[in-house]
């Protein structure tokens, strides 16, 4: 679906964020970008989203350019709009009429378990509920690729697990690909088909770990020896990737 080759990117101040970053994402694949804070994971995501341009290298879609969905670390909801209007936003920007879009919005709110909060304002929701709205908004256009920038980082452990399971269930239904930025080994081990481990800044892919485990993955997988084996291997790869870096030695 997507291939990044030898991507270089510098921040405006001159610091190099990415150095010859190369990665590929397949259709329906769940790829986790794992690395320490500041390694350029989010920058890579912004490049894929078209929010930034690389200084060098190529970003190539190997299929038709899919519709994109983006979930930020913060829910990033419009505080002046109701939950339903927040979810409606991408469709509104596509020029869809409210009446035409209403069934899609209702279905998506139902899918994330927030039907009864359609008329609520973001300030009335918990952190987990806000993130559900954010995910519903990203998925209401039925994207081919969902980009997620540490979406569960600010949530408590139980909410993270629940949202992760819900995300996998929706992905299984809708069949979109995911690029999921995280610094959590546990999260990437549970969610991803493939984990790409990044070096500290300037970021590049240091290791790749494939997780060929059946879906749906539930509590049984999380408590299994296979999960532990993947987690240990990914932890080791992350430690090797950050070895020698001043902040992570």
């Amino acid at each position: 679906m997507l291939r990044l080759e030898a991507i270089d990117k510098h921040y405006p101040g001159g610091t190099q964020a990415l150095a010859r970053l190369t990665l590929a994402v397949g259709a329906r694949e769940f790829v986790a970008l794992l690395g320490p804070s500041g390694c350029g994971k989010s920058t890579a995501l912004r490049l894929i989203a078209g929010l930034d341009r690389p200084d060098a290298g190529t970003l190539r879609w190997t299929t038709a350019v899919p519709t994109l969905g983006f979930v930020f670390q913060e829910p990033t909801l419009m505080p002046w709009a109701t939950v339903a209007d927040n979810v409606f936003l991408p469709l509104r920007l596509q020029g869809r009429a409210r009446a035409e879009a209403a069934p899609l919005v209702d279905a998506m709110l139902d899918r994330v378990g927030l039907s009864s909060f359609a008329r609520a304002y973001p300030r009335e929701l918990s952190g987990g509920m806000k993130m559900r709205v954010s995910i519903a908004r990203a998925l209401v256009t039925q994207p081919g690729l969902l980009l997620m920038d540490e979406p569960f980082a600010a949530l408590d452990e139980l909410t993270r697990q629940q949202l992760g399971e819900d995300l996998l269930a929706i992905q299984a239904e809708q069949g979109f690909a995911v690029v999921f930025v995280t610094h959590s080994v546990h999260e990437s081990t549970y969610l991803a088909d493939r984990v790409l481990v990044m070096t500290p800044r300037p970021g590049r892919i240091a290791a790749e770990w494939r997780i060929d485990e059946p879906r749906p993955r539930g509590e049984a997988y999380r408590l299994s020896a296979r999960y532990d084996a993947h987690r240990v291997a990914i932890s080791r790869a992350l430690r090797d990737a950050t070895a020698g870096a001043p902040d992570h030695a």
Binding site: L51, F72, W80
Partner: protein, 264 residues
Amino acid sequence: MPEPRSPLWRIVLPLALVGTLLLGWELLVRVKQIPHYILPSPSLVLSTLFERWDSLAPSLWFTLRLTLLALAAAVVGGVLLAMAFAFSRWVELALFPVAVVLQVTPLIAIAPLILIYVDNTTAALLLCAWIVAFFPVLANTVTGLRSTDVNLRDLFTLYRASRWQRLRWLLAPSALPYFLAGLKIAGGLSLIGAVVAEFTAGTAGRETGLASRILEASFRTEIPLMFAALLLVSLLGVAIFVACSALSRWAIGHWHESERAGWP
């Protein structure tokens, strides 16, 4: 006992304070037998207000109309200019210093020139009031337009929002609380601008406002009438502030913290 932030206290406390002050003033004048041409009692001010209402009402209407027109012009001018600033750095670089110069130059110093160059006295007064009132709307709206959540901006870019969609669904609602805060300031300033301009103009023109009534009364040493006209100016200012606050509460009270947290 109700909470200090309850609506009851918001009304009762200021009223009790003002009532106490008025009572003290009334007692002072009566006990000390102060002549009305030095300090009229509140009751005399009130009775003068009712007795001279026929001559004060047209002036009140004139000042009110001038103030509201200036405020409307400040809103239109301030918002349009703010949008131009937000969309073009070139426009901002060219025009912002001019706006600052207009804001920092005392109205009392510009007003005589405006009254010389603008033939129509009402138009000159309106221009004076507008100069004072438009800057808070401009400055606050520019700040609001620039304070939009960065991630929401990115989201609109991701979905290829048009310039109009960005303005309608993102920038305008983001800037609304800032604009309304500016409007509250501009409401008071437009009244101040109208009154100061009229003081500078003297009692020229066919129609005259409350400032002219105060000037006339001072020439005739009608101190109770001066106080009566002053009372109307103050009440007008309070009414404008209350109206702007109500508008703000109505527009953003359901989502913005500034209207939900109550008074500090």
